[in-house]
Subunit: 408 residues, 2 copies
């Protein structure tokens, strides 16, 4: 299941980014499961990784390499997460980078490895050896290469996730394209979240880092499928510098905001695509919390609502079960919250006013508000200007089926 139509937007080529895929046979011999992304000389790349303390070998190696050199290649395999694999896993991650380095004639520390798939299974090196030449021979910039890349990094995804923006920045066309995999915020065994975004505009390291962090805060850090966090999550943002413009060297550059907004847009599209494809999802819930004393206060409340199994199962049934919403909010709310100032809306319908059921609320109105595939829940705490936003999906029978029967 998934929420909404299976939109597959047009993807734009990003000058300086070439992508090649191959079937290496990590899990299923007939499936493309290896992706090589080559970045033009002069490219800059920023990245964020999972905060889970069990960090997969590729995450550790990618961080290590990022700290020493500007990346020239990204290497992504699906089917095996190379997590909880100890020192042998580290060696395979490093060796796979060396194989790419030889093939592309770049330094090994300019290659970043990424893996997704089953945890704890040793990742063999041989498949890289055999399939990398195929990836290299197929490297190309065309939009189709991006879609092939999405297919290669996917695991349990039922939808392919890509997004683009093309804009003019001070008269120069800029292309931004991103791809992602994941059908839950986290699926430690088979569907950890990976996303790769690139643009041809030249952006220096520091503004690129800020741009990525802003985009993540407003996209991937706002989504939750099951509240778990993974061993392999990673997101990169590359700027190839191939667009004909002077480099954006600082966040105060007047062109920075235009680029940052477009990058955030691409990330938001990808993040929403992940929630829409959430395991077993039949509904997309947008949780807005406003009127908090500070943003952090609103985040804590929104988090509890977005993670609550009781809220999510009620959403599955299109049940306007506002008692569960308030109780979930109460688990994250500040101690001194004055509930008599709290307002709750389901879509346009005011359900709670002054902390109690609104006089004009009817169950029928609540049911109508919960009926659509996409529902907004808006809780106002009535005490300040802090706010937060979360996107999540419902908890269905299908979710249990997928996760219970996954290995059986």
């Amino acid at each position: 299941m998934a929420v909404g139509p299976d939109n597959r937007p047009e993807l734009a080529s990003v000058s300086g980014v070439r992508l090649g895929t191959a079937a290496a046979g990590f899990k299923d011999p007939d499936r493309e499961d290896l992706l090589l992304v080559a970045l033009a000389p002069g490219s800059r790349t920023a990245a964020v990784f999972t905060r889970n303390r069990l960090r997969a070998a590729p995450v550790l190696v990618a961080e290590e390499n990022l700290a020493t050199a500007a990346p020239r290649a990204l290497l992504v395999n699906s089917g095996n997460a190379n997590a909880a694999t100890g020192q042998p896993g580290m060696e395979v991650a490093r060796e796979s980078c060396r194989l790419v380095a030889e093939a592309l004639e770049v330094d090994a520390d300019t290659v970043l490895p990424f893996s997704t798939g089953v945890i704890g299974e040793p990742l063999p090196l041989e498949p890289f050896d055999g399939a990398l030449p195929v990836c290299v021979s197929r490297l190309r910039e065309e939009p189709e290469a991006w879609w092939a890349a999405v297919e290669a990094i996917g695991t349990t995804d039922t939808r392919l996730k890509g997004a683009s923006r093309t804009l003019e920045v001070a008269g120069t066309p800029v292309h931004i394209t991103g791809i992602a995999k994941g059908s839950g915020m986290i699926h430690p065994n088979m569907a950890t979240m990976l996303a790769f975004v690139a643009m041809d505009a030249p952006v220096a390291d520091e503004p690129l880092r800020v741009m990525l962090e802003t985009a993540v805060a407003e996209s991937f850090n706002r989504i939750s499928v099951d509240g778990d966090t993974s061993t392999n999550d990673a997101l990169t943002l590359s700027a190839t510098g191939q667009a004909a413009m002077a480099p954006v060297d600082s966040v105060t550059d007047p062109r920075y905001n235009e680029l940052a907004e477009a990058v955030t847009g691409v990330c938001r599209d990808l993040a929403l695509a992940i929630v829409r494809d959430g395991e077993g999802a039949t509904k997309l819930l947008t949780i807005r919390v406003s009127g908090a004393a500070a943003d952090a206060e609103a985040e804590a409340v929104a988090d509890r609502i977005a993670r609550s199994p009781l809220v999510k199962t009620a959403a599955y049934a299109s049940d306007p079960n506002w008692g569960r919403l308030l109780a979930a909010a109460g688990a994250g709310a500040p101690e001194d919250l004055d509930w008599s100032r709290v307002t709750l809306h389901l879509g346009e319908v005011c359900v709670v006013r002054g902390g109690v059921r609104a006089d004009d609320y009817t169950e029928a109105a609540g049911q109508a508000a919960m009926a659509p595939e996409e529902v907004t829940v808006h809780l106002d705490l009535g005490r300040g200007r802090g706010s937060a936003l979360r996107w999540t999906c419902d908890f269905s029978h299908e979710y249990v089926t997928i996760n219970a029967e996954y290995r059986t």
Copy 2:
């Protein structure tokens, strides 16, 4: 569904505790749904309440009254939680105490009100008025009265939950009996957790409070069904002082430990009964985390494991999905954890040694370990003496059915 046989242990009368029930018609007219517990003069009572910030009116009134007088009566209704009901809800909670006070000829602030059921629905006062005389006329000490009380406080429970201990303390027989309701740690709409424990031994306020807190830490605070917290949770521990012994005035009294252990035993029985009756539960999981630098560190890790939907759905399928267990642990683990010292057992089977899959581990052995209805997961962090224990249940299709179709 529920885990294990439907054991209904024998309950002991507690001298000084009389219980009476009636059908007040809060939700279903044909069901006993009101419980009055009368405590003998001289009784002492300690209590703990939900930490959710959305506190139901009876919780607020009970706390208020506890602070001013030694309770002489507990009044419990099911079918309506009197939560998110504003000032009118507070007035009904207070008025219901006044009605009890008149009937029993005690002060109104010696009555503690408790409610469980649907949130946000105004709680009417009239049903108390009509049904309280019936409760009073039926007040009695017999074990059957305790079982009738369990039935009256239950909502979606599929098992009745009661436990007793009888022991000799310095030559005097002491009786401890407790009852509980709840089929999830928390069910904000219809099954918030309530428990009432009483003993005839005389214990002063301060040691009674410590006894309760210790017992809660080793019982109710160790269970989780769905990670939500409720608006109405409450647990009381009363000591009627009817047993023929001098009062236990301090925790250093040599009799204190015997009593405390028995009270903890009763609370543990009740807490385990709640997890076994967890909504849709087919498996009871005991999560042990050891080898942490401190207990708090172990608690954080155990919490993440016990709450993980991915762990719980895998358990439902009897799937030895140890990658999910490690990843859930990683979400709560300390940053400097040395994974190469981590060991994981499923039952007696060593699955992970030195942070990677144990050499002698086989999938067949893992499946055999996960097959029983009751499974112990033991994670050792290999860095200290801190430990923690959690009991939880699995996440089944039935869980989704119960919570999605609850109001439809």
